[in-house]
């Protein structure tokens, strides 16, 4: 997971003719009490891209695994075989061990966080050369 780098922009080179408004188009306040969470099951490219899902900040991590992930990834032939106890979780590239009873908020999963999870025994149909 060393490929994800979270750092602030080094230089602002924007030139303008006048005042330039600062508009956070995707501010958390616009998501009706939810926050946007991105999810990626590593090596499983049958799903073309990671998902974007609005979730309540107080959603228990266990509910994410039990209720949300099957909706997103359940049609993959390997999904049933996932051992959630052996799954590796990453928040923007940083490994964390989830507490299934605690909320997304508790895990520091702020608005627009990216959760990537790796299932070591399952590397996709035909391994990394498949999907």
């Amino acid at each position: 997971m060393s490929t994800t780098t979270a750092n602030a922009p080094a230089t602002d080179l924007l030139r303008t003719v006048g005042e330039y408004p600062v508009i956070q188009q995707d501010d958390e306040s616009k998501f009706h009490g939810k926050r946007l969470i991105f999810l990626s099951w590593e090596n499983h490219l049958m799903y073309a891209a990671p998902f974007a899902v609005p979730l309540p900040p107080n959603l228990p991590f266990g509910a994410l695994v039990r209720d949300v992930l099957p909706l997103l990834y359940g049609e993959h032939p390997e999904f049933e075989a996932i051992d959630w106890q052996r799954t590796h979780w990453f928040n923007s590239g940083k490994r964390f061990i989830p507490d299934f009873g605690k909320s997304l908020e508790h895990h520091g999963l702020t608005h627009k966080s990216l959760i990537r999870f790796r299932t070591p025994a399952l590397e996709g149909v035909r391994g990394s050369q498949g999907f």
């Binding site: 490929t3 994800t4 780098t5 979270a6 750092n7 602030a8 922009p9 080094a10 230089t11 602002d12 080179l13 924007l14 030139r15 303008t16 003719v17 330039y20 600062v22 508009i23 956070q24 188009q25 995707d26 501010d27 616009k30 998501f31 009706h32 009490g33 939810k34 946007l36 991105f38 990626s40 590593e42 090596n43 490219l45 049958m46 799903y47 073309a48 891209a49 990671p50 998902f51 974007a52 899902v53 609005p54 909706l71 997103l72 049609e75 032939p77 923007s92 590239g93 702020t110 608005h111 627009k112 990216l114 990537r116 996709g124 149909v125 035909r126 990394s128 050369q129 498949g130 999907f131």
Partner: protein, 523 residues
């Protein structure tokens, strides 16, 4: 006694000067800087606008004459095409989906280009550049119009072409070309010309036009071929404007070089990401293929573009950043994009389908290093699922994460590792932003205030901007996708979905069958 009036006939060069630069004056009531506020703020220093070369020396009256002739020829062909039911002569109704992509995603860009050049044609203080930009502005409006007229014939017979302006403003994959042009024309006039005249028209245009137009020719669509030719003859003028503008900026002041280089880096990459849609069209949507995306990239980008940057080295310009990744991407992006549209076709406005065995054999042959290794297994799995009556055609029901800069779903993989999605991230004013590549991240990092305003279709759907008025965005009901399609004005299954079950396919088979019968009756 009448005085004899000597009519002085001007030579071509004098006439050109009189009709362009001769119309310019230095303002006196107001300072020039106030009348032309956009001319300097980008940091480009121009010492002498008279050094601007006008390779075509075209005046407005000559321009009307040439364009008028082209229009007459074009409309004669379009008319004949309509009267002879040319739409039934195309190879296969799958081909029409390439035209849908064109009218949805490319034609609106002509209109944006018209607006951008109208702005540049007002704002440069140099009259030569202003006149060239004004003519191109009219060209682009003409292209929008002729493409709309030519393709409107298909709209009478096929789905997915009836609401393209609304789709361009809202639908997820069309935000890719839309955001490209909005980014370009919200820059200053010099950046706009670098973006559109140079990076897009000069470096990349062949990769846009040749695949569509030669694809049309190979698939029996003479109407599209004709508007392609009619537009292409303007493109040579546009390309000359592009290279002239770049050389002019580079020659005027050494301080311009790093600014222009950064724009080239930015706009090469943005253009390349946009061309992903063309790559997909070329490899998967043409029943009769012309050449692979990889071959087109090698010919038009690596070979021609490589020579161009060798030529520009004397100004201190190097190849754009991202060039190597783009060259590596030639083996991947068309497959990744088609796999994406295959699973999200129910949220798009054209049909997709699985490549047949023989088409996959063609892809294996054209992409010996990647197709079988990475992509074939996905298509074979989906074919198995689709053929199983218990399962049926698979659609991905949940919305994808998008890149903040290029707005393409995050399906691009890591350089040198096609098994891993490429993720990059920045934090700005406390909020996280995600990117598909180092280059999209760099573009954001240089101008974050601009890109945090991006109108990302997925985020907008969740915010509630893409529902009909009778829907509460906080609780859109059991099928948010259905409501979004209703807002888009897309009819599920007719305007999108799998080609094999589409009305387009059925109609084409019936109509072309009828035509064969009618012809046989005459004999």
């Amino acid at each position: 006694m009448d005085t004899k009036v000597v009519k002085k006939k001007l030579g071509l060069k004098e006439r050109y000067a009189a009709m362009t630069r001769g119309l310019h004056w230095e303002t006196t009531y107001q300072p020039m800087d106030k009348v032309f506020p956009f001319d300097r703020y980008e940091g480009i220093v121009i010492h002498d606008w008279d050094k601007w070369e006008d390779p075509f020396r075209l005046t407005m009256d000559a321009y009307w004459k040439y364009q008028g002739e082209k229009e007459r020829k074009l409309y004669a062909v379009i008319e004949a095409f309509a009267q002879n039911h040319g739409e039934l002569a195309v190879t296969d109704a799958r081909y029409i989906n390439a035209l849908k992509l064109f009218i949805q995603g490319v034609t609106p860009l002509e209109y944006y280009a018209h607006r951008g050049f109208a702005h540049a044609g007002r704002q440069f203080t140099g009259a030569g550049a202003r006149v060239a930009a004004q003519m191109q502005s009219v060209d682009e409006l003409r292209h929008f119009q002729t493409e709309t007229h030519a393709i409107s014939h298909y709209n009478k017979y096929f789905n997915g072409m009836h609401n393209t302006n609304h789709w361009f403003d809202n639908v997820w994959y069309l935000s890719v070309p839309k955001s490209f042009f909005e980014d370009a024309y919200s820059g200053g006039p010099f950046e706009f010309l670098t973006a559109v005249s140079f990076s897009f028209e000069y470096v990349l245009t062949n990769l846009l036009f040749v695949p569509f137009m030669s694809g049309a020719a190979h698939n029996g669509d003479m109407s599209t071929v004709t508007f392609g030719f009619s537009a292409q003859s303007d493109e040579s003028r546009h390309m000359t404007l592009g290279i002239e503008c770049i050389k002019f900026m580079l020659e005027q002041d050494p301080a311009n070089v790093p600014i222009v280089q950064r724009w080239m880096d930015k706009w090469f990459w943005r253009g390349y990401r946009l061309l992903t849609l063309v790559a997909m069209m070329q490899d998967y949507m043409l029943p009769k293929r012309v050449m692979s995306w990889k071959e087109a990239w090698e010919m038009y980008a690596e070979s021609n573009g490589g020579a161009l940057f060798t030529d520009l080295a004397r100004f201190g310009i190097r190849k754009p950043l991202g060039w190597d990744e783009a060259c590596e991407g030639k083996n991947h992006i068309s497959h990744q994009a088609w796999a994406t549209f295959y699973q999200y076709t129910h949220a798009a406005a054209f049909h997709t389908w699985l490549p047949s065995e023989s088409e996959m054999a063609w892809l294996s042959g054209k992409y010996p290093d990647t197709f079988d290794k990475y992509y074939r297994a996905r298509f074979e799995h989906w074919a198995k699922v689709q053929a199983d009556p218990k399962e049926g055609r698979w659609f991905n029901q949940f919305l994808p994460m998008l890149c903040q800069t290029c707005q393409v779903p995050m399906f691009f993989t890591e350089p040198r590792d096609a098994s891993q999605i490429c993720f990059r991230e920045s934090t700005y004013l406390g909020q996280k932003y995600h990117f598909c590549s180092d280059h999209c991240k760099r573009i954001f990092d240089h101008e974050p205030k601009k890109y945090i305003q991006a109108w990302l279709p997925v985020q907008q759907i969740y915010q509630g901007s893409c529902y009909p008025d009778d829907i509460n965005p906080a609780s859109p009901g059991d099928s948010p996708v259905r409501e979004v399609l209703r807002y888009y004005g897309i009819e599920g299954g007719a305007d999108n979905g799998d080609f094999t079950t589409s009305p387009d396919r059925e109609h084409f088979a019936n109509w072309s069958g009828r035509r064969a019968v009618a012809a046989a009756d005459k004999i």
